[in-house]
Symmetry: C3
Subunit: 219 residues, 3 copies
């Protein structure tokens, strides 16, 4: 069904662009040059799908056969670079408040899009009977790019640090795995990805926190 | 031989639980929340086996098909979380002295169990004729989880930093590769894993050190 | 053609030794002990090829079947260790000026050798029709080892930070992919690898810089 493929493809492109922008923003904050910005953008954008394909045994990973993903990632990173060269835009975007908000939104869109794309790819690869596998691979596709981005930027990864980051991805993957056969696939893809984005935005707005071990009485 | 499988399986579970606890402890020290603690625990526990399966071409990696490993890792991390919520236990465990000792023990058990499991998996995958491969993959299975843990926590990995860490794993893998056919496999598994643990504990106690390049005369 | 194989093989050994030395130097700067030096050297030396083989679906990766690469890497790291134990040599090499220059040269040689070896391996694996894939895999083979080295040493990877690092690798890979069939393969290998080294040396000497986003007006 061509309509089906195109919704999936559009989500892949949206996720690619959003993650590339988030990688580019981190690179700019780290004061890297244009090439560093593009490289970190590309790695963030294609990293999750590459890890998924390696785990599923898809050789070589799709990104190497279809240059469209890397191309979109490069263009997105360059656009961010050009935007941030403008003093007014960068002053606006990089104030502590907006930077966090922008990064969170870009990251949430990438996370949502790639989580459902990942679940879908695992099912297409004939692993649909292993619910645990498809959900886990969806989450890895979703969080993989941001994980590589943060590890390369020498920061504790968002998946460990941020309110309900992995939870949002798991929720989207579980939702898609169960709803995928019951409604039209296009609708399932869009709804599941949106669920991830909404959870991430709500988590940030209401500062949903999980309990910590209070270590203040030590030291 | 069912008895054989179960010793191997029990060692996998022990290694999984021990590594998950060590990942959870690092996460607690980094002041991460419950989800960060569980995620780092799971990655530490299943990371080594995942890397081994990818290198051996086992698609998808075993951990995705048998949820028992992830389940054990999640439970172990939650238990550590609950224990550390208690002021008395955490005060006891997280003083510099005991924390290091506990981490070293957990890490040594995981290292020992996963090293021999890794050698065994490589042999089962039909690579028994390549001694170098089976030993190397055993070491990677052993050190892989801790490596991912330390890289995600932005610390120089234990394998680079700690007294005879890689050496202990190599010793256990070589011992198992050579003794595996000569005595009962159960006994070989237990003896080889114990060897790793004993080397690590002795190394820490006697502060076995390898020579360094003294750079003090610089700067 | 045996002559052909041996030029390729010699370049692999040169790249392995050069990258192992660069990993060992980073380990020495981080004050690691002999084992840490050897381990980081080996990972830097074999990391790029291992990542390439995993992406191409070559199981198990070549390095596990031919111990020569790991052996060369271990020897190279030990030689660096012994050299740096000498006060005079280490004082000479580790002054800020020469350390950077030495590291840059070793890294450039490794980058050049592994980039063309990577393109060549991808073509040998039957992927020669996918220009994008072969070039991309060449670059990953070239930069992969240094990437793992820097991530394990908790530094922002050279590929993100250094003047035209990835560009040099891309230039060498593109040059080799297009010239490979037109002149003798030996000559193509040597010329392409040399191109990478020359670009890196020129980039450092003339401090070629790509534009950055100036963030000084913030904060």
């Amino acid at each position: 069904m061509p309509g089906n493929i195109s919704v999936l493809f559009i989500m892949e492109l949206i996720g690619t662009a959003a993650f590339s922008c988030s990688g580019a923003m981190v690179a700019i904050k780290k004061n890297l040059d244009l090439l560093g910005i593009v490289v970190l953008g590309v790695i963030t954008a294609v990293g999750g799908g590459m890890i998924r394909d390696v785990l599923l045994g898809i050789h070589p990973p799709t990104l190497f056969l279809k240059p469209v993903y890397v191309t979109v990632a490069v263009i997105a990173a360059i656009i961010i670079f050009l935007l941030m060269r403008s003093k007014n835009i960068s002053r606006f975007l990089l104030t502590a408040e907006y930077y966090d908000w922008t990064m969170n939104l870009l990251d949430a869109i990438g996370l949502g899009a790639f989580t459902v794309v990942g679940v879908n790819t695992s099912i297409s690869a004939g692993q649909g009977n292993f619910q645990f596998l498809t959900i886990f691979l969806g989450v890895i596709t979703g969080v993989g790019g941001g994980l590589l981005r943060d590890m390369m930027a020498c920061e504790v990864p968002a998946i460990l640090r941020k309110h309900v980051y992995a939870c949002a991805s798991i929720a989207g993957a579980v939702f898609y795995a169960y709803i995928g056969n019951r409604i039209s696939q296009d609708m399932a893809l869009i709804l599941s990805a949106s669920l991830v984005v909404v959870i991430r935005l709500l988590a940030r707005h209401y500062k949903w926190n999980l309990p910590k071990c209070n270590m203040n009485h030590l030291n």
